[in-house]
């Protein structure tokens, strides 16, 4: 209980709560698949989500800007934050070779519409290499993806 109060007080003191639902490391590169879970009690009793659990932000700390907070929108940071927050969905969509999350990742790599199909096919073909271990982090996944892109004739220019 004391711990909870302390944690709540800390969150309240942070200017616009840098606290995210999943506490990520750095730009979120430490996130592993299947981290978030709310559980049954929430499902049954959570009649409404008009309440929010201590993560009131104002877009400053959670994704508008790079995670270093210096005000520069770093696309690499944006990519890793997005991938980190959606790693489960990405894994499933990469296996299926299509989907909104994967399309969004493609756009964060600034991949032209003409090359998207190649990107989707690559992600699907490389799935085993991208998610090589059960504790692969988002950082591992994106590095492996960029290595694979670098070796692809059509996609190498997006990671150059």
């Amino acid at each position: 209980m004391k711990k909870t109060i302390l944690a709540a007080a800390l969150v309240a003191m942070m200017p616009f709560g840098a606290a995210l639902a999943d506490s990520d490391i750095g730009c979120g590169l430490g996130t592993q698949v299947m981290k978030g879970q709310k559980g049954k009690v929430f499902k049954v009793l959570g009649a409404t989500t008009n309440g929010t659990f201590g993560n009131q932000t104002f877009g400053i700390t959670s994704g508008t800007l790079g995670c270093d907070g210096d005000g520069v929108v770093a696309s690499k940071a944006r990519r890793s934050m997005f991938a980190s927050a959606n790693i489960d969905q990405l894994s499933a969509e990469m296996a299926a070779g299509e989907g909104e999350t994967l399309t969004t990742l493609a756009s964060l790599y600034q991949i032209d519409a003409a090359d998207r199909e190649a990107f989707f096919a690559l992600a699907q073909a490389q799935h085993a290499a991208l998610f090589a271990t059960v504790d692969a982090t988002t950082g591992d996944v994106l590095s492996a993806l960029e290595v694979a892109m670098a070796q692809d004739a059509r996609l190498s220019r997006y990671v150059a």
Partner: protein
């Protein structure tokens, strides 16, 4: 938060040298002459409302938000103080910005109305706000409504939020948008405590801005609620006003009430800063239901997009598998079979891809629901996805179709009825009002199937022959009929709390609490059958001990013979747990015909046997939704 607090005295002292006192007085006088403090738009920016006692006050409660000491209650002194503060350049606590930068919407509006002379009232630079606005830079604004989630009728009261599409958002990348959310500040995880405090104003709410994908994840996947996204017609200037006002609201706390001053209501007040023509009168004084607020914004919103949730997708994808394939998918998700199972490898690649896709979604859903630990689900998930990727088959499913009727097109949530009926031989007429929300005989279009929530159904009437007055009050009546399928196995449930006249003894009023768990099968579009283990507790002075409890089966069916016609049949056998108690048996049939969008006829007939007494009842009701 910030160590320094600018007091009025120190601000005046340090400003004295630079402030154009004459111009300040001129502006104050001009604002008074134009009666700007009484302008509805000024009231909008301050979030002024008239309380029950008739006194206007702002529903914002953060002291720092008001520049005048009595600014919360006095729009004129707040206007005076605002104009004066615009001449100051110091950063104000706790926002650490000068007034011009904090109160951007006030500044722009007052500047438009009074024609600020930039040489006498220099416009200050606001780098933090500019940076924030440039990062968001909305090209389009949407109102987003998460529909109720399966088996939770209370979630129909739901939520609304805004989606802001920045320049990054193009076709297919809506996830890069931002969400504007109003929510109560709480760490409460106990839903009952949350509800109790939320009802009584125990929380403060505030706006937040966060990546839209966080909200999509929360609603579509964690909670499995379909999302409806309504594009809003806002031009560039209106969108700018929306952002400026949102920045004003940054960190401002509001009184939060679950039914009235909730997320949907505050979203309207935020939108009103962008579109002053958005009006709702007194409509939300007693309750602001999200779908009702969608009707308020309907004049500025276009045809909505539909974003099916994880559960909706699973259910629809499952229909694209054959029964043996679906069994295989479930066995893979449960771990009873492995990805190298012969039954799977024997399938053609397309079918294999579909089976693996559904099996992984089922597994993921179990994980999110807390049914499977991470140590089990992660390795299994990776094996399934790896096998899925190896098929080389891309996609493979038809997406779920959009429901024909969007939530803003459902019936209005208030219902008034004039009823005429007979109880045994006594004729009766009644008037009935149900302020919210939806029951299983109401027209289901636009609502979540099988989910009923009636709040405060009140009826008064008279028996003309005896001159006896009648009254009924139902506090809450929730029913969730969630059919079981080859994919999902939900438990239906119901609970009801009511006061109604007993048909035994002296006919006193009984207090009733009843409900229980159940199972149901079928399809809501056609026919659903259900059975509950039903318990009823009753308090009445005419009962032997003053109270009684009965338990037994309740069986029922819901049938939609065609659009605009619903039937519900229920029968119950309750045996009293008390030797002296009263056993109850009843059969009830209700049906409703929709005459117009807002008018329906309902016929209820029923028979009940209690302690040897039979009663029969028939009632015809003309219902108006408004």
């Amino acid at each position: 938060m910030e160590p320094t607090r600018v007091t009025a005295a120190s601000a005046a002292a340090s400003n004295a040298a630079t402030v154009d006192v004459a111009y300040r007085a001129e502006l104050l006088a001009a604002a008074r002459a134009q009666k700007l403090s009484a302008d509805p738009y000024w009231q909008t920016l301050l979030h002024v409302e008239t309380s029950f006692l008739g006194t206007p006050r702002s529903v914002a409660v953060s002291d720092w938000f008001f520049l005048a000491p009595d600014g919360r209650y006095n729009a004129q002194s707040e206007l005076d103080a605002t104009l004066a503060a615009f001449f100051e350049t110091q950063a104000r606590s706790p926002r650490d910005e000068p007034a011009q930068c904090i109160y951007g919407a006030r500044y722009r509006w007052l500047s438009q109305r009074l024609g600020f002379d930039a040489t006498r009232l220099p416009q200050q630079s606001c780098p933090r706000r500019d940076e924030w606005m440039q990062a968001l830079d909305p090209q389009r604004v949407w109102v987003v409504f998460p529909a109720a989630y399966l088996n939770s009728p209370a979630s129909m009261f739901g939520h609304t939020l805004l989606r802001l599409d920045g320049r990054e958002v193009s076709d297919g990348t809506a996830l890069l948008a931002y969400a504007v959310n109003f929510a109560a500040n709480t760490d409460e995880t106990n839903g009952l405590v949350f509800a109790a405090k939320g009802l009584t104003g125990g929380y403060r709410g505030q706006f937040s801005v966060l990546p839209y994908y966080e909200k999509v994840k929360e609603y579509s996947r964690l909670e499995s609620r379909d999302l409806w996204e309504y594009p809003l017609d806002l031009d560039e200037a209106q969108t700018q006003m929306l952002l400026l006002h949102l920045w004003e609201m940054r960190g401002v706390e509001f009184d939060y009430y679950f039914f009235t001053k909730n997320c949907s209501y505050q979203l309207l007040t935020l939108l009103q800063a962008a579109r002053p023509d958005l009006q709702w009168g007194d409509q939300y004084r007693w309750r602001a239901i999200p779908t009702d607020t969608l009707k308020t914004t309907a004049p500025l919103s276009g045809d909505p997009d539909y974003r099916p949730s994880l559960s909706t997708q699973i259910a629809h994808h499952a229909t694209q598998l054959s029964p043996p394939e679906l069994r295989l998918a479930r066995a893979l998700a449960d771990g009873q079979r492995a990805a190298d199972d012969d039954a799977l490898t024997a399938l053609p690649a397309e079918a294999r891809a579909r089976v693996l896709g559904v099996s992984h979604d089922l597994l993921y859903r179990s994980f999110l629901a807390g049914d499977l630990p991470r140590e089990v689900s992660v390795p299994r998930s990776q094996t399934l996805l790896r096998a899925r990727a190896q098929t080389g088959v891309r996609g493979g499913f038809e997406p779920p179709p959009r429901p024909a009727v969007a939530p803003d097109r459902g019936h209005a949530t208030r219902r008034f009825a004039a009823e005429a009926g007979v109880l045994d031989d006594a004729a009766r007429v009644m008037l009935r009002l149900r302020p919210a929300y939806h029951d299983l005989l109401d027209e289901p279009a636009g609502y979540s199937d099988g989910q009923q929530i009636n709040f405060l159904d009140l009826a008064v009437g008279i028996e003309p022959e005896t001159g006896r007055w009648l009254g009924e009050a139902q506090l809450i009546d929730i029913v969730s009929i969630a059919p079981r399928s080859a994919v999902f196995s939900p438990i239906s449930w119901r609970v009801r709390l009511a006061a109604e006249r007993a048909d035994y003894g002296r006919g006193l009023t009984s207090a009733l609490l009843e409900g229980g768990p159940g199972l149901s099968w079928g399809q809501h579009a056609h026919l659903v059958g259900y059975g509950f283990l039903f318990a009823q507790m009753e308090a009445n002075k005419d009962l032997a001990r003053g109270h009684d409890a009965g338990i037994g089966p309740l069986l029922g069916a819901l049938w939609r013979p065609r659009a605009g016609w619903q039937l519900q049949l229920e029968a119950a056998w309750l045996d009293s747990l008390d030797d002296d108690g009263l056993d109850r048996r009843w059969v009830r049939l209700g049906q409703q015909w929709q005459l117009r969008d807002d008018v329906a006829v309902r016929l209820r007939v029923g028979g009940e046997r209690r302690a040897g007494d039979h009663t029969t009842e028939a009632t015809l009701a003309l219902q108006r939704y408004f």
